[in-house]
Symmetry: C2
Subunit: 256 residues, 2 copies
Amino acid sequence: MTINEGSPAAQPIDFIDRSLYEPAYVQLANILRRQIAEGLFRPGDQLPSEAQLCRRYGVSPMTVRRSINLLVDQDVVSTAQGRGTFVKALELSQASFDLQELQELFKPGAGTDIRLLDVRIVPADAATAHRLNLKVGENTIYIRRLLSKNEEPIFYHREYLIYDPKLPIVEAEMDVTALQGLFANVDNALLKRGELTVMATLLTEDEAKILHTILPSAAFCLEHIFFDFDDRPISVGWFICRADRIHFTTKVGLDQ
Amino acid sequence: MTINEGSPAAQPIDFIDRSLYEPAYVQLANILRRQIAEGLFRPGDQLPSEAQLCRRYGVSPMTVRRSINLLVDQDVVSTAQGRGTFVKALELSQASFDLQELQELFKPGAGTDIRLLDVRIVPADAATAHRLNLKVGENTIYIRRLLSKNEEPIFYHREYLIYDPKLPIVEAEMDVTALQGLFANVDNALLKRGELTVMATLLTEDEAKILHTILPSAAFCLEHIFFDFDDRPISVGWFICRADRIHFTTKVGLDQ
DNA sequence: AAGTGGTCTAGACCACTAT
DNA sequence: TAGTGGTCTAGACCACTTT
């Protein structure tokens, strides 16, 4: 036994190292997150007050707040004005999936090939006209593309663009590299916002042929509509991907 | 013409109203977001420096920083130390989908019914044993549930739980209301983290029968594995939902 | 009344980038 | 060197909750 063994929980072994490059508020957030992960604080428990954390770790109130806010953003804790800060229980509903896996497929690299299958001027049908805010029969540009990795088809993309020669985006979109632009940080400065929908579908006969598989096959379908800065719809389209070629993964709760 | 019409862009009509309940940093973030949405700043453009914003809107540096950080979190702008703050272009890859639509289905309400189809003790097969860190043949609890809305089957859920009478979660999970708990904020304080995977699949014959549809049918499959605070896997399971019953929607870029 | 989180100030110092 | 974002302080005041 040593002198320092008395009430170890009251005197935390964690401390903030001001000589590190890591900011104090990040260090404190990590300390608290680790204490929660280790079970020192359990879901529902109240964390020490901000004033206590200030004293205990020798930082100013604003720095403690930044740490707490980090943990709030990460859904680790929740705050209640006048009551305190509490550890949150795991919530499945707060899980979120991003398109990172999808972006990987678009990364230009060895074996990646985006092929233009078809570009045509076609009159808008009722559904397309409605989405693009056109009259039925007005011209649209219909583009079909295929993305392959190592000669193997992965993604089929169909898209309708408004037909307006004044808009430079038309030229840009017809460039097959434009697809990568949507997934990287390229020149789509004309688009203000977009609406995305993910569906599970059965491949049609045509789609199965293009994607080199057999029926019946399940697929992911990502529908997208983009708007310019005047809130005019510019394009509507669908990414179609064989279900056995992609899935989406995420984590909830405390990592490690 | 009036006197005040000279150089309207230099003297912003926007201001921060200190009498409002809305915090100054939120007001400033909204002002900047609106200016971007209106095209005053375009993707790639540099925003006024933080010092300029301090003077222009009469707030302290920390308040300006909070506003900018809000916009960074919303992927509206990005900051570069020593260079400035810049408006981001739309990026499809940064879109994220959450399970809010799914949670709606689980909300206990009129017509919502979660029925326990089956509970059995079964020995773990190779795949399940591996995921639950058991030996092949060790006992697991196999649970099948069906969620319906207005007599119509929506969700089919299969789950394997580790068989450990000491763990209270076993009792909790066997309660049919536990499913809602995962999607609400109920008593799952024993779970530290989870891994989720969304796939598109074809329904099996059994699944199609349970979900009252015909083959072939596409479906979403959400696989989940949960771990306790000792990082032991507690359960592995799958939510299976007819594709025509759900889809996931999200937005990217600037709303309105 | 006491304690809690929430906002905000008016600076300071630092790290980085451009010129 | 000047300008930029990034961190941090040591308080102040407020709103809210609990006792």
